[in-house]
Point group: C2
Chain length 395, copies 2
């Protein structure tokens, strides 16, 4: 008898891209690769005050084990904020706190997926959702997606002819990786289909509050009258990633299952971190804080879009997101973005090749660019370098 890993480990290979991107930590590198918030706007001074306040007011409680569901006052605040921003109708009993919204995806896989089950997703979709679900040995069917979101006629056709669809995973607001937002009409059509076929939906919404222009569209969950939509979000983008505070908002029947699996996964999320965010919301104006982020990211998006317009060769398309962290570039068909990346890294520019976002392969000529993490001057310089390399590949 020798060491044998589980079968799922054959599906989970170390990402070649991740290895390549390790070198993006070099000082001189301009990285459009990660999904990192701007550290300039981390509320460091405020954090100092709230850390001390939480320890002084509730240190013994804050540092102890806590409930798996999470800190009630924070769950209350989250539910109110969701109802206000995303037109949902949830209370604290619909909320479980998770270790970032990534844990929400992992726990969802655990709750819903057996080997061979089918997950429907947008094409392309979020890289780390693919790896979270793949660990439960599911298959993915990518539903064709246009600038209005998932194409609902195609969705219905797939549902009609496919067995064992257990979950539909979507990111309707400022999608990762494309930056696209679903139209209201598409949301309505989508929810009509969901209501008809009664399939659980994960509405992943980490970026929705980072809207640069236009009104908030209603969330899918706000149009759900059957309790099928599981909404997940996080404070990683609106506050800071190191808090590792995300959440799931769903029907109590689902929440009970999430509590069960979270107990086995990590017992509870840090009460101290939950109290800190709750205290921040008490002491400061969260809306104002988000406004500052939006203003900065809007500017950076503008700079990147302008630089792309001025520098990219003809035949190269890109999205112009109304919010979020990413935009998406489609190169002429014969250019391989992974090869392009290697050359770009030699020129100190990094991005993520789009291929990683297609669970069943494809998208060789696409790439994702992040605009939230780099200052404007650096964005301009980086896009110039990137464009030069693309020109080289055109020849």
């Amino acid at each position: 008898m020798a060491v044998a890993f589980s079968k799922r480990m054959e599906l989970l290979k170390a990402s070649e891209i991740r290895e390549i991107l390790k070198i993006t930590q070099r000082e001189e590198m301009i990285s459009f690769a990660g999904g990192l918030p701007a550290p300039e706007l981390f509320p460091i001074e405020e954090m100092k005050r709230i850390s001390v306040a939480v320890l002084e007011e509730a240190g013994k409680e804050a540092l102890q084990y806590s409930t798996t569901e999470g800190f009630e006052p924070l769950r209350e605040k989250i539910s109110k904020r969701m109802n206000q921003k995303f037109k949902t109708n949830v209370s604290l009993n619909n909320i479980i706190i998770t270790c970032g919204s990534q844990q929400a995806l992992d726990l969802s896989g655990k709750i819903f997926l057996d080997e061979g089950d089918i997950v429907l997703c947008e094409s392309p979709t979020y890289l780390a959702a693919i790896s979270a679900f793949k660990a439960y040995q599911c298959q993915f069917i990518e539903v064709p997606t246009d600038s209005d979101g998932m194409i609902t006629s195609e969705l219905e056709e797939i549902i009609e002819k496919t067995e064992r669809i257990k979950l539909i995973y979507v990111i309707p607001d400022f999608q990762n990786p494309t930056g696209k937002t679903w139209s209201i009409k598409r949301r309505q059509e989508f929810m009509k289909i969901i209501s008809k076929y009664e399939i659980p939906v994960i509405e992943d919404n980490p970026y929705g509050e980072l809207r640069f222009e236009g009104d908030f569209p209603p969330s899918l969950q706000s149009m759900d009258n059957k309790g099928l939509v599981i909404f997940t979000s996080t404070f990683s983008k609106t506050f800071c990633p190191a808090m590792r505070i995300g959440w799931i908002a769903a029907a109590p029947e689902f929440i009970r299952k999430y509590v069960l699996v979270k107990q086995g996964a990590d017992l509870c999320t840090s009460l101290k971190s939950q109290m800190e965010i709750s205290k921040f919301i008490d002491l400061y104006n969260f809306d104002e804080h988000v406004k500052r982020l939006v203003a900065l990211y809007r500017k950076r998006r503008d700079v990147m879009v302008k630089a792309l317009e001025e520098n990219l060769p003809q035949g190269t398309e890109f999205t112009r997101p109304q919010g979020g962290l990413f935009l998406w570039v489609e190169l002429p068909r014969h250019i391989n973005a992974s090869e392009l990346l290697k050359e770009c890294l030699r020129n100190n520019v990094a991005f993520v090749p789009g291929e990683s976002f297609f669970p069943n392969g494809g998208g060789i000529n696409t790439l994702r660019l992040n605009y939230s993490n780099m200052p404007e001057k650096v964005i301009r310089k980086g896009i110039e370098s990137l464009s030069k390399v693309i020109y080289k590949f055109l020849m």
Copy 2:
């Protein structure tokens, strides 16, 4: 098509005990149920200083996303401390930081276990390890255990006649729930068998540093020359639970797998929390801090043992642990500890019935008592009440 959960969810039922124990949060309740550290010794003042120091010195970095492996200086400190205390021979490359040691168990299930695989464990064993592994649809075989630890002749017999043993899970130091510590001889015999059959072992060691008397025995990992022992521990008991900082120390081949599955599970552990513990170790004397815990818990163990000796009826046995948080009581065979609990709760005393610690059932007449969380006077009072109820059940 209606909502269908994964098959594993049928195995994961909400614990009846957990529901019962919810009422232990009542103010007047004397709870020996949880595994909670003493909040009186949480380093609250020190935490205030280190939180501010980390934010001032490295705020932008501390609040950002970080590597899945964890903060290198902390991994370095952990490896040195392990080598000193547990006679291991590890470096930072053997360490991955986890969200408490509970996550180490969940990730281990993910890496090793397919449906129907066998996990060997002590009988009884840690409740939440059972639920972590069960989520991967394994079966448990409990290896008979005496006061020296797992009975190695029985272990070898089971290994010889059993297919698909993927993992052996043990807690050799101050076991949860029994408080027992394996003898050195038993450790040697165990590792001889492991080396012969080459089965991965999880050596779960959250309590090892909380030793009240006697020398530290060598860890299983220190006797392992084939890289089969995966050591896990946590700062939850020696620092505080809300940091949610645990770790795995293992061969790099295993660590690479853990990194892969942790990426999908939660991306990374809070860098801020990791930096805070690292800073605590820099600014304060961690050994002195542990000494204070040990002094307090030793006293509380003494008080509980004395109270049990004075109050328990004849025919009731209990362990006298040399460290850790728990002791284990065996009642006369005809007493059902779950029934006893109901009556105890009416008298404002709580414990965990032992049955929960036997993955395949049994141990109806056993119970686990925690002595770390309650002050001495309260321990005395609680044991007196408990004993009175036991007397009632004897009649």
